[in-house]
């Protein structure tokens, strides 16, 4: 019995859909505390998060049992709080994971749950809400941008196009703007808020403005993003590079190619430095302990999933741009290719690494670059081929 009849519900009690907050017509039979407006939303929620937290919701949504003593009551309340906090984190991570995997639609219900529990625990105007707002905004935004990208097959087309096609994604922008406005308001009211949060907020605002083709404001927000990220992590950190990358995209779209070029170079240098450091550490360890028990070394990028996804996205975009002007500056293309090779190598995705290495090698040969350059690429290639000898179990 999934169906409920709103008229049968006691007066004054309104049951809302878990996803859209319209009046509910269905109930989840497993927990009997979660309502939906229709099959579509129920299914979406189930796929996204409800499957994982269905049973956990029961104690939160039923009234507390009768406790005999004050002590027990306090204990019960404390338990409830703990549960909610746990759920906040859990939903947040789940949503994040969906986002990295590119399942933006699935991320939304999970993020919404996280937001709702945060409101319960911390109140409406707490800074704690900001990460959830940002996540939701990102889900909507990225969803929108990807929608366009799928149409035009490249992020660049989005920027070069003068008119945004009126597609269903537009509704998403409004959604994103709403969440971002909420987040901004919360941050504005709070006095203490970390630089990292500020940076994230401004990056999303920048992306929003980009989506709305308001490049003037987008530049302002991205500049703020870079500033705050620099305050939090330093100017040469990979977490700052995202701001530079988006800024470069804007300038590229505005056809200020020399400006965009220096910014892309900056982004590639940041990633090159980071990946090269890790690569060097790895090869050092390899040289020192060669043949010791035939032990294989874990390649490690030191990045989490989101950062890895970001790295791939940024670097491939830069590569596309570099390749479009490859005739003029093959060195820059090879530079980006090398970074990508290192990235995939460290991520232990050897086939991809090999593909990029081959491309770099061929390009270097074609353009008759110096021997030194060819040799370094050859070295990388050999290393990867050797790795592929031992497939990962």
């Amino acid at each position: 019995m999934n169906v409920i009849y709103p008229l049968a519900v006691p007066k004054g009690r309104r049951l809302c859909c878990e996803v859209c907050e319209a009046s509910a017509e269905r109930v989840c039979t497993a927990c009997t505390v979660t309502y939906y407006c229709g099959v579509v939303h129920q299914r979406a929620d189930w796929r996204s998060i409800h499957e994982k937290i269905c049973q956990l919701l029961i104690p939160l949504r039923t009234s507390m049992p009768f406790y005999n003593s004050e002590e027990e009551r306090q204990h019960g309340l404390h338990q409830l709080q703990q549960r909610q906090k746990h759920l906040i984190e859990f939903c947040y991570t789940v949503a994040q994971k969906y986002l990295f995997e590119g399942k933006h639609e699935d991320a939304v219900p999970a993020a919404l749950h996280s937001l709702r529990f945060r409101m319960n625990v911390h109140g409406l105007s707490s800074v704690e809400l900001v990460p959830a707002y940002l996540l939701l905004a990102e889900a909507s935004l990225v969803c929108f941008i990807f929608h366009l990208c799928r149409q035009d097959s490249s992020i660049l087309c989005l920027l070069q196009k003068k008119t945004i096609p009126k597609i269903s994604g537009l509704g998403r922008i409004v959604q994103a703007e709403e969440y971002l406005s909420q987040a901004q308001w919360t941050v504005l009211k709070s006095t203490e808020c970390s630089y990292a949060t500020h940076s994230l907020l401004h990056r999303n605002l920048g992306l929003l403005c980009m989506a709305k083709e308001n490049y003037e404001e987008a530049r302002y927000h991205l500049a703020n993003d870079i500033y705050f990220a620099s305050c939090a992590f330093g100017t040469e950190d990979i977490r700052t590079s995202g701001g530079y990358f988006h800024l470069a995209n804007i300038f590229y779209g505005l056809n200020k190619l020399d400006l965009a070029d220096t910014l892309y170079t900056k982004v590639s240098e940041i990633w090159n430095k980071y990946l090269n450091d890790h690569y060097q550490v790895l090869s050092q360890a390899r040289i020192q302990q060669v043949d010791l028990l035939g032990k294989r070394f874990e390649a490690d990028t030191g990045l989490d999933e989101a950062q890895e996804a970001e790295a791939i996205q940024i670097l491939t975009s830069v590569l596309n741009i570099r390749e479009s002007t490859s005739d003029k500056a093959p060195r820059k293309t090879i530079f980006v290719l090398k970074i990508l090779v290192m990235l995939y190598y460290l991520m232990m995705n050897y086939s991809k690494a090999q593909e990029y290495a081959m491309r770099a090698f061929n390009l270097a040969k074609e353009q008759q670059l110096s021997d030194h350059e060819q040799n370094t690429i050859q070295e990388l290639l050999n290393l990867i081929l050797a790795e592929e000898g031992y497939p990962i179990i």
Partner: protein, 476 residues
Amino acid sequence: MTTLPPVPMTRPKLTSLARQKLPCSPRRIPRSQLIKEKGDIDHYVEVNFKGLSKEEVAAYRNSYKKSICVDMLRDGFHKSFTELFALMEKWDALREAARLRSLLWLQRPLEEQPDKLDHFYYYLTRAEVAERKGFFEDVYNNLYALACYFNNSEDKWVRNHFYERCFQIAQLIKIDGGKKEAEAHGHMGLLFEEDGQLLEAAEHYEAFHQLTQGRVWKDETGRFLNLLACESLLRTYRLLSDKMLENKEYKQAISILIKASEIAKEGNDKKMEGEAAYYLGLAHLAAGHYETALTVLNAYGKISTDLDDDLSLGRAYEAIARVLQSQGEMTEAINYLKKVVNISQNNFQWLDVVRASTMLGDIYNKKGYYNKASEYFQQAFDTTAELTNIPLMDETKVHYGIAKAHQMMQTVSNYIESADLASLDYLLSWKESRSDIALDPVVGDSRRPTMESLYQTSEHLEEELNGFPDNVKDET
């Protein structure tokens, strides 16, 4: 009853927008509508109210430092931003260090110095534009302007940073035949010299000198760069050799000074050449090569005479005298020193007079001419008294006292040796009248008159020595 038509109310746009949002408004407005309205209101406020645009609000809310950074970044000046950001971090670190050292520190935070931030913004962005276009000369000029702006004692390290940057950029400039590079070398030399790293400084100055050789470049004040290079190089060489002489590495010091004098000769500046010769002579003297020292110093003397430069002539003679003194040729030395005293007196170089007189007194003292010695020491002492240079006065006082004591000792011992009653009387009366200090009777027949005069001088002496009795007693 006819209903009147509704009064045409002309509301400003803002109120009408706000009215629609009033809580009592009957219909529920969809969110997308609200967001659109928000944009409209923002736009309206921005257009119609001065100073209420988002950016201006941000300018009030944020620190000036942040506004500058954001301004740089939104126009894509990321290199400027990185540089400024690094400098600001260092600035804060330095302030923090200064704060830990003492409670009172004067360095204000950068946020409170908008002038400096403005300068950073102006020049750094211009430099970056030029760099993007490949106009390295402009880059250099802008960076150099910044270095000049921070050329004060408080912000030395900022200046140094930009000198280094100038140096890097200058190496890319090829069109001007290396003028900028030369200048940059000069600045780097200065930087190292101030830091006390003389070897590095000399390296840069050498490059500076080499690049400017045979060129007629001038700096902004109109001086020849080549001359400037020579001067700096000589100065560094001299400092280097001084250090080596301190460590008794005479050979190296002399070889460096020979190099210096060769450079000076090429520089076509007689005065500089003379200077170089002078220091070379001194080094030879320290190393004990008296003959060479003499020839070099004589050359210096000759240059000075040619230039009509009495001061350096005095110095030359003094140095020569010192060499002669070391060689043991006292009469010659005395001659030169007397010349020095004369020259210095004519030029009112009182310190030189004091030094020369003291040396003269020393020589006489050693040879046993105490009268002469005390005469010169007295001259030195009188001069210092006029100069009111207390430490120097104390020193000459001691010399003078010693000479005087030597002078008196002879007579006293004569009395004691003669061992007759009259002498004993003299000794006794002297002792009675002067319990502390030796008083001088005079030998032989003409005792009386000289006694009188000596009493006077010794009285005079005692007054002077009041502040310094211990040393004098020891010496006597």
